[in-house]
Point group: C2
């Protein structure tokens, strides 16, 4: 029994490597939600949670939840262990195994042995069936539509997949606000900022909001040899000119963290000899500031209006999916993470937004939430070569454990 | 027996409409080279040529050739009757039926009854198997590679298609320079310049040369949320910026007839959430002036070198197909067409380049060649709705017949 919570690096890395063995492909992992290997991995995690003294269950949607036997207030620590079709071994797995290790570490320390850490492995963050299914179910969102309509790429419905997994009658794990008072999601950065800055820990300030638009340009398809430049209505040329205007407008509004991306362009019909009559571009932009996102959206609409008043080729803005608003991480929880980071790695941590989406953005709407990042080598994620240095993995867990103890100490005082 | 060559508008339009019936799809035509309906149409044309007093043959590659029984010098008049997968009824058919009608008209006129007009219906101008196969075979190009390797979309080889058509042992019709001293190809414009200018006849000055390049941009694929703008190597953004540079450089070099087209853009992997790591654009440019084409090619290479010296995203120029050089139409033949046009339609004709490719560019390398255009309604071609006003069809044939008589009169003097 320690007198302060100490993580066990050997156990931590062993558990991470064992989890990797479920669905390993070279150095990467293929573990799609509710696939046979994913279900096998879920049963293994439930067993490991039981060994850590938690009451473990696999719930109605497939989330593995390990509830501490200690009375609340409880801190929920978790993330997801399902992967993309070509996944990395750490992506969400890191946060789940951190949770397990921290449950061990707090139980092995005299000062924190009564602290309640509930560990969550949310199902389907990656959207094999329906993105953020586990965290959405936990906070009480209506998931009936997903159960009935969501299908994976093979056409298997979510409802059938859960029935085949024997979960049709399992109880749904739901947020207990009286007990579960805060959420911590440790995660790899999935970008290259920490590495570029030479930092070991990122304390997340906000999870950015997202807008996605299809921009359709309609001109006139023509023979590329017989149609003089002066009389063309080239939808592709209009698209290119419009991107230049978007860049100029967004640069006026952006700060260093604002990002925008044209990820796809289609010219129709798409051959050397035909002036495109139709052209589509797919634009995404992200920012941590809701006001800036709205300003960018307004600027885009104004550009389209201005363009249509000036040009024969017309542009139409088509919003794709619903807008995702930014989710601000709880200030007090951020402070605990920062203090723990400064204690473990003085000067080696930084506050930063999360440019990627995480379960914390779902849960953060309901209880105070925070996230801690560790560096991704080369900034690579969603790829078999995704990796993080062992020293960074261990240090990140140490920071998370200290922060968890401090957060719970404060929560217990305020009860 | 007329005392000057007079075309018969009823016979001309009847023949055009009958030819349309082979492969008619609504107002358009689907008559792919060596398809059953194409072969049927070839047999019909051979019979019509025989009725016009020509010695008709379908040769080794499928070209229908009607040789006049008159002694040379001969004028070859023709074009192609094969179509694109969604073809118009006039495209090349117009020039072939003009040839047939002019053979009739000259034979029916006392002053020209001894004049030799050979009528050609070249196979596969559109490249169902191998572009310009008929005219290339006629001028003596090596066609063995095409016979052995060329295949249509169904995977049928050209050699097998010709064998199935019973042509494996047919003789190849070859250019006889001693006899065949000039080539006239009447054609629809396939663009909108005549219509826009309110003109009825185009006298072609040159068939433009063509260059085609794939430009491949190589950057770094990254997560569109977690990769700040400042550290991205976005291949798509580079592509867009480079197109702006191409436009600026080409505008410096262009005249009113120069055209350039970006017909296709591919971003890889092509999704909202990924910064493109690879991007391809497909650029074609055309001009009637060989020097300008070379200058544009040099400018493009210089832009790429300059870009690569300045940017992390690198661009590679990949030449596609062989370069096609411009082919200048014979000045004396152009003059005959202009005089005939002025006689039939005073002030309603114009000299212009051909922005599209034609068999005349193959034959023009070997004997003096010329082309005459009639207007395309709405500038549309390679489409079921392709059409030309009947009055324009008749007037164009009248001009071509007068020009043919004048060309042959001059050729016979110089023998």
């Amino acid at each position: 029994m320690h007198d302060f919570p100490r993580i066990n690096p050997v156990r931590l890395l062993d558990d991470l490597r064992t989890l990797r063995s479920f669905g390993a492909h070279g150095s990467g992992v293929v573990r799609l939600s509710l696939s046979p290997v994913d279900l096998e991995a879920r049963r293994w995690r439930a067993a490991r949670m039981t060994e850590a003294g938690l009451d473990a269950t696999i719930d109605r949607v497939g989330t593995v939840f390990g509830r501490s036997r200690q009375a609340g207030p409880a801190l929920v620590i978790g993330s997801h262990t399902d992967t993309q079709p070509t996944g990395g071994w750490l992506d969400g797995a890191l946060g789940v195994i951190y949770g397990l290790e921290i449950a061990h570490a707090l139980a092995e320390c005299a000062a924190t042995r009564d602290f309640a850490v509930d560990v969550a492995s949310w199902i389907d963050e990656e959207g094999t069936f329906s993105s953020f299914l586990g965290s959405r179910s936990f906070v009480g969102d209506d998931i009936d539509a997903s159960l009935q309509q969501a299908r994976n790429r093979d056409g298997l419905s979510l409802g059938d997949a859960l029935a085949q997994a024997g979960l049709a009658d399992a109880p749904r794990v739901m947020l207990d606000r009286a007990r579960q008072r805060a959420y911590l999601e440790p995660h790899i950065e999935q970008g290259g900022r920490l590495e570029a800055a030479g930092k070991a820990i990122g304390v997340v300030t906000t999870i950015v909001g997202i807008r996605e638009f299809q921009l359709r340009f309609t001109g006139q398809r023509n023979h590329a040899g017989t149609t003089p430049m002066a009389i063309r209505r080239d939808a592709g040329a209009a698209l290119v000119a419009f991107i230049t205007r978007i860049d100029a407008a967004f640069q006026q509004l952006a700060d260093a963290d604002t990002v925008w991306t044209v990820g796809r362009i289609d010219l129709d019909p798409g051959s050397f000899s035909v002036v495109p009559g139709k052209a589509d571009l797919y634009l995404q932009f992200r920012d941590g500031n809701a006001g800036r996102l709205h300003a960018m959206e307004s600027a885009l609409a104004a550009l389209a209006d201005e363009w249509n008043a000036q040009h024969a080729v017309q542009v139409e803005l088509i919003a794709c999916d619903g807008p995702e608003e930014p989710v601000v991480m709880d200030a007090s929880l951020q402070q605990h993470l920062a203090q723990a980071a400064e204690a473990v790695a003085p000067g080696q941590w930084v506050s930063m937004p999360s440019g990627a989406s995480h379960d914390a953005q779902v849960i953060g709407h309901h209880i105070p939430a925070c996230m801690l990042f560790v560096p991704s080598i080369g900034g690579v994620s969603h790829d078999f070569i995704e990796d993080t240095a062992e020293a960074d993995i261990v240090r990140g867990c140490d920071v998370a454990a200290r922060a968890a103890a401090a957060i719970l100490a404060q929560l217990r005082q305020s009860v």
